[in-house]
């Protein structure tokens, strides 16, 4: 939070009166934002002497170390913060971005996925996550097959990940549904609004364009039925002069969207949408097991 000069004075006063006050934290943040990093660093280190388990203080100390170019110490502090509070959103975010910066794609994906779940609007995290995903896949494909026999594992290897086959099945099913009579698109979106599979649009694929707008419909529907005490949302139906679109939630917080031409019976679109949802749920169940 950006602080006003009035707040800075107040925190300063509180800390002067009571050195054990936790006002050191907002004050240090204010100094960091004012580029007074040395003062901020001294404040946090002194605060941690009295509050060694203060999670936010470790997080802030990590930021200050990173500002100073000491990425190792920074990661140590965020690691401490996560050890104290595994759900800490700031530490998770910074760990993810730090892993991304050093090219540790697997670690970056792990942390950034959680960070994105904490704040779906964080564009920096989203961009890094997309990039880390792509790079981790490229790295996996580029890994040369080993000609030498693999060393005997000390522990049993986990079952081979079979996500590609599961994805292919989903893509084929949604592709097939898109070809059904009068249907102009069937697409699966995840909770963050990413297209998982499918296409949408009569002339060209607009799935990517509409996913960002559509993804918000899920949270809006959830908010409405929650506030009005109508149980969980089961679906949204939208009609336009040219199309009928059915949105249905999936178990991961995402949704499927199926669009049909306005001249096909609505009941048909609803049935195709039900099949698309079943495909999506099979995919999610298989992905849960394909690890």
């Amino acid at each position: 939070m950006s602080a006003s000069p009035m707040q800075v004075k107040q925190w300063t006063d509180e800390l002067a009166a009571d050195p054990a006050s936790t006002a050191f934290l907002p004050l240090a943040r204010a100094y960091r934002e004012s580029a007074k990093r040395e003062a901020a660093l001294r404040l946090v280190l002194r605060g941690l002497e009295r509050h060694p388990h203060h999670v936010d203080a470790h997080h802030l100390l990590g930021l200050l170390y990173r500002d100073a170019g000491d990425n190792v110490k920074a990661a140590d502090e965020w690691g401490i913060a996560l050890a104290l509070a595994p759900e800490h959103p700031g530490a998770r975010r910074e760990m993810g971005l730090a892993a991304f910066a050093r090219g540790d794609w697997a670690s970056a994906v792990k942390h950034l996925e959680q960070a994105q779940a904490n704040d779906v609007m964080d564009q920096e995290v989203r961009a890094a996550l997309e990039s880390a995903w792509q790079r981790s896949r490229v790295a996996a494909r580029a890994a040369p097959p080993s000609s030498a026999p693999a060393p005997a594992p000390e522990a049993p290897l986990p079952e081979q990940w079979d996500g590609g086959r599961v994805f292919d099945a989903l893509a084929a099913e949604l592709g097939s549904l898109s070809q059904e009579r009068g249907i102009v698109g069937a697409v699966m979106l995840d909770a963050q609004g990413f297209v998982v599979a499918g296409r949408m649009g009569a002339d060209r694929d607009r799935a990517g364009e509409i996913s960002a707008v559509l993804s918000g419909a899920s949270s809006e529907a959830e908010r409405a039925v929650r506030h009005l005490k109508m149980g969980a949302w089961k679906g949204i139906l939208v009609e336009t002069p040219r199309a009928v679109v059915r949105l249905a939630p999936t178990g991961d917080g995402g949704m499927v969207a199926v669009a049909g031409r306005r001249d096909v019976p609505m009941g048909w679109v609803l049935r195709v949408a039900a099949r698309a949802r079943e495909s999506a749920e099979r995919f999610l169940a298989a992905m849960g097991g394909a690890r």
Binding site: G185, M200, G201, A202, R206, E209, I210, V213, L214, G216, A217, E220, A221, R223, A224, V225, H227, L228, K229, M230, G231, A232, W233, K234, G235, I236, L237, V238, E239, T240, P241, R242, A243, V245, A259
Partner: protein, 118 residues
């Protein structure tokens, strides 16, 4: 009883309908309402109008044209919003039980919209 109220009363005669309202789509504010006791009109208006605006943007992004009707299915209830040209920037919103005859509600809503436009 306003002109709107008389027409809304016709929608409300459908078994399972808990109330209906005319709502300003951009503001999410109630223009007219005929609701059963316990139906929070202000909340329904704000939330349904918001979903409708989202649906409208989505349909536009998909090049499907202007959204004219939106239905939200909850486990314990249904919400309908119709935006016919006759109503301009207003929505006809209906709150119903989950077991309501959807076709009947839509038919009656269409009649009301026709009457409002006339």
């Amino acid at each position: 009883m306003s002109g709107y109220a008389e027409l809304l009363d016709r929608v409300n005669r459908v078994t399972g309908v808990r109330g209906s309202m005319v709502v300003a789509v951009e503001d999410g504010l109630v223009v007219a309402e005929e609701l059963m006791l316990g139906v929070p009109g202000d909340a329904v208006a704000a939330l349904v109008a918001s979903i409708f605006r989202r649906a409208r943007r989505s349909m536009s992004a998909a090049d499907f044209g202007d959204a004219a009707f939106v239905q939200v299915d909850g486990e314990d209830g249904l919400l309908f919003a119709a935006a016919p040209p006759q109503l301009g920037d207003l929505l006809l919103v209906v709150v119903a039980e989950s077991w309501v005859n959807v076709g009947l509600v839509r038919l009656e809503a269409a009649r009301v919209v026709e009457a409002l436009g006339g």
